[in-house]
């Protein structure tokens, strides 16, 4: 479904040259969920942004659904892949109603039965038709993220690019959104690429994941291996440890 070969992303030139992504390759099969994990600045979001055209591809190949992507991306591409951003407080237009937010992609792609599609999309993300004419400020964080997911799904894409979809949300709301994403994937046969710094979230949603650091791929591992603590890489181990919560080191434990 998605094939990334030797992807490099470079920003700036000369002294300001930053190699944000260095030689990253991975493939994702149809219907699979693939995770990208790492600390901030590891280039995990940049990979995602390079796929959907928000960051330049300096070299390497990105093949989505059997076709190599072109710059600028075609309309067809956006019917195949859609993105959900981290902060639902920032990614929805504050002065557009839910109805207008959802009808924009439909208008761009010339979809006829907008009315039915909007109602269907709202239903899919577990919101009733009563939410259709609300503004973002009238919604809670979790509801906003549901709208952002509905907007991504309304064109019936095959691939969903999720950039930290739950890190701006409360723990209890995070569980709801994760369940929703899980259900939608099963119902619609979607392919996910999930970026997160939370190892537990990635392991929950994805079958395989790639650990990144300083723009390079550190290790690719199935999430089952992570569960049983089989990660070989030292950096992955430190991420696992960090996700277990705070542990006092020996010196302060004695104090």
């Amino acid at each position: 479904m998605l094939d990334i070969q030797n992807l490099n992303v470079v920003f700036g030139t000369g002294r300001l040259r930053v190699e944000a992504v260095k030689n990253v390759s991975f493939t994702v099969k149809q219907g699979e969920a693939y995770g990208l994990v790492g600390e901030s600045g590891s280039g995990k979001s940049t990979v995602l942004r390079a796929i959907c055209g928000l960051a330049p591809i300096t070299s390497g190949r990105v093949i989505v659904d059997g076709k190599e992507v072109t710059t600028p991306r075609t309309k067809d591409f956006y019917r195949t892949a859609q993105m959900v951003f981290q902060d639902p407080y920032a990614s929805l237009h504050p002065r557009h109603t839910v109805d207008r937010t959802l009808s924009e992609p439909l208008a761009i792609h010339g979809v006829k039965d907008a009315e039915a599609r909007i109602l269907q999309a709202l239903k899919e993300v577990g919101l009733g038709p009563s939410f259709r004419f609300r503004y973002p400020h009238q919604l809670s964080g979790g509801q906003r993220q549901r709208i952002a997911i509905a907007r991504a799904l309304i064109l019936r894409p095959k691939v969903l690019l999720l950039d930290e979809p739950t890190s701006a949300l409360d723990a209890s709301v995070q569980a709801e959104i994760l369940n929703l994403l899980d259900d939608l994937r099963r119902q619609l046969g979607l392919t996910y690429i999930l970026v997160s710094h939370d190892l537990a979230v990635v392991a929950h949603l994805c079958e395989r994941l790639l650990v990144m650091r300083h723009g390079e791929a550190v290790e690719e591992t199935p999430s089952d291996a992570l569960r049983s603590g089989l990660a070989t890489n030292e950096y992955t181990q430190s991420l696992i440890q960090a996700s277990q919560g705070f542990t006092r080191n020996s010196s302060s434990a004695a104090a």
């Binding site: 723990a171 369940n179 392991a203 929950h204 569960r227 996700s243 277990q244």
Partner: protein, 278 residues
């Protein structure tokens, strides 16, 4: 434990709005010695407002009342603005959530720490400078000299947060209120920041109020945890006994987190019982 450092009894924070009065904090009581207390809750549960009310930082039109709100014998409600100013930053400090918004963008980090120090302690510029550098070193900055002369936009989130901790601890406060100090940071960086915070708190014997929405984190870091829901404390327990939480809300919060160990699907979600808010 001797006399508590901070006593809060029946704290209420109300906001009188055009649309009616919203009570953000409804009768919170607790006391704190030289220990680590965690306050956990979802957004809107009033945990941050509790922290702010202690410092008298409730934004207008907020209205704070309490039967008792005293810090080391000083009644914070009747204290003059002058006394409060001396307490704030001097004996009680607060670390805010996001270093991007809480550091002064047009002052170098060093100048800001010096300013905080000289506002409360009589010290020559050279003394304050040494103190600031020592503090930057205490928060494990690799190159304190360099960080000293950097502006906030030139440092990463983790460094900014450590700089803020340095600024807040330079005056040797007795009580530190940390409002989601690591929510804007990465897991690995936040562990580093917490470790620094932990060391400094135990070294200096400070009291710490740690406000967070991350139950797992709080329970591993603090001695005691208050769980807040809709402006009330629904449960208070020892952090190590968190597994034996009685209130359905606390239990729900514990269960809804995905864990690496076991694979539960779908994740249990919280069914909010309206009676919890009563």
């Amino acid at each position: 434990m001797t006399k508590p450092l901070l006593e809060v009894e029946d704290l209420r924070v109300r906001f009188h709005l055009r649309t009616g009065t919203v009570e953000a904090v409804r009768g919170v009581s607790f006391h704190l010695g030289r220990e680590r207390l965690g306050i956990v809750g979802e957004s809107g549960s009033g945990k941050s407002q509790t922290g702010r009310a202690i410092l008298g930082l409730t934004p207008p039109p907020g209205d704070v009342t309490a039967k008792r709100l005293s810090f080391d014998g000083i009644d914070l409600q009747t204290a003059s603005k002058r006394t409060l100013r001396q307490l704030r930053g001097g004996r009680i400090s607060m670390v805010m959530q996001d270093p991007k918004y809480s550091l002064n963008p047009v002052m170098t980090i060093g100048e800001q720490i010096i300013e905080a120090y000289q506002a409360h302690k009589k010290a020559s510029n050279a003394e304050a400078r040494d103190k600031a550098l020592a503090m930057l070193e205490a928060v494990k900055m690799r190159d304190p000299q360099r960080v000293f002369s950097l502006y906030p936009h030139e440092v990463s989130g983790g460094m900014g947060q450590r700089a803020m901790i340095a600024m807040m601890l330079v005056t040797d406060p007795d009580l530190l209120i940390a409002d989601e100090p690591t929510s804007a940071l990465d897991v690995t960086v936040s562990m580093e920041v917490l470790r620094i915070l932990d060391e400094l708190v135990s070294e200096r014997g400070m009291g710490l109020i740690f406000i967070s929405h991350d139950l797992k984190l709080v329970s591993s870091f603090c001695d005691r945890v208050l769980v807040m829901y809709a402006g009330r404390v629904v449960e208070e327990l020892e952090a190590k006994n968190l597994r034996e939480a009685k209130h359905p809300y606390t239990q729900g919060l514990m269960r809804c987190l995905p864990t690496l160990k076991d694979d539960v699907r779908p994740l249990p979600t919280l069914n909010r019982d309206p009676s919890w808010a009563l």
